[in-house]
Symmetry: C2
Subunit: 146 residues, 2 copies
Amino acid sequence: MVEQLSFESATGFLLARLGSMAGRSWQGMLREHGLSPHEHAVLLTLRERQELGQRALSRVIAVDPRNLVPIIEGLVARGLLHRAVDPTDRRRRLLTLTRIGGEAADRLARAAIAIERQFLSPLTPEQQRQLNQLLRTLRAAHDPGN
Amino acid sequence: MVEQLSFESATGFLLARLGSMAGRSWQGMLREHGLSPHEHAVLLTLRERQELGQRALSRVIAVDPRNLVPIIEGLVARGLLHRAVDPTDRRRRLLTLTRIGGEAADRLARAAIAIERQFLSPLTPEQQRQLNQLLRTLRAAHDPGN
DNA sequence: TATTGTTATACTCTATAACTATA
DNA sequence: TATAGTTATAGAGTATAACAATA
């Protein structure tokens, strides 16, 4: 167990703090693309998962379905996203990237790699791997199904 | 460097996600005490740093000074916090815990240990130490002076 | 002139309740 | 009855601009 040295060095506090700092490290790039963090998450997720219902997307990026609606509509309005009723279950609305949405997602993915590299640069490559693995373990335990 | 396997396993995304999850793990306890996360951070920080100006406190817990004002006033109104002008620099207003504020902070600190232990329980003690150390390194690099 | 604290205000993110349509 | 999506709305949390008091 980790010794409770002080509030500021508690792991929970550091996670919240660094999560916020990581978000800020993307801010400039996202603003250049005219995207919010959630819009960015939608594009990058669909880039990998091809076709997804709004419910499933909601779970993956941890944004409530009702809050996802205006985000999706904005991306559709900008021609980045395509939304169509699932013929096999007409309640569902399947999301896919349009051609220009896919191109935008590719550019975002490239930029994200550079930003992540910069953000993690205070750690050695081995430490970066360790950190990623520890976080994935922790997430898997607390967020089963994702 | 960490391989960019997918957006959902990027370290930046995981940090933001786990920061949010860590916050939720405190939620129930904080609600029992009738405190917001920021109020909690104020009490726990003053528990360790005795006496602090609002500016310094703001830096430590990463809450903007202007947003700290109503938080502090709420705690003063509830008798948990004492705020007094610094006689050596009359611009500053020194914050200290009252007796009952100190007692509340002690209870919070005990509860926080249990919550942190539970949250980190999917990791071995050695992994918990590693994670804490990696996060502290990363924070120190990105948040110099804290 | 710079710093500490403050107000008013706006914006983003998240959450509560309730609804439509399909299954 | 349960699920996918939606609407309206309220609440946190955070950020922009400008100010008063003191150094």
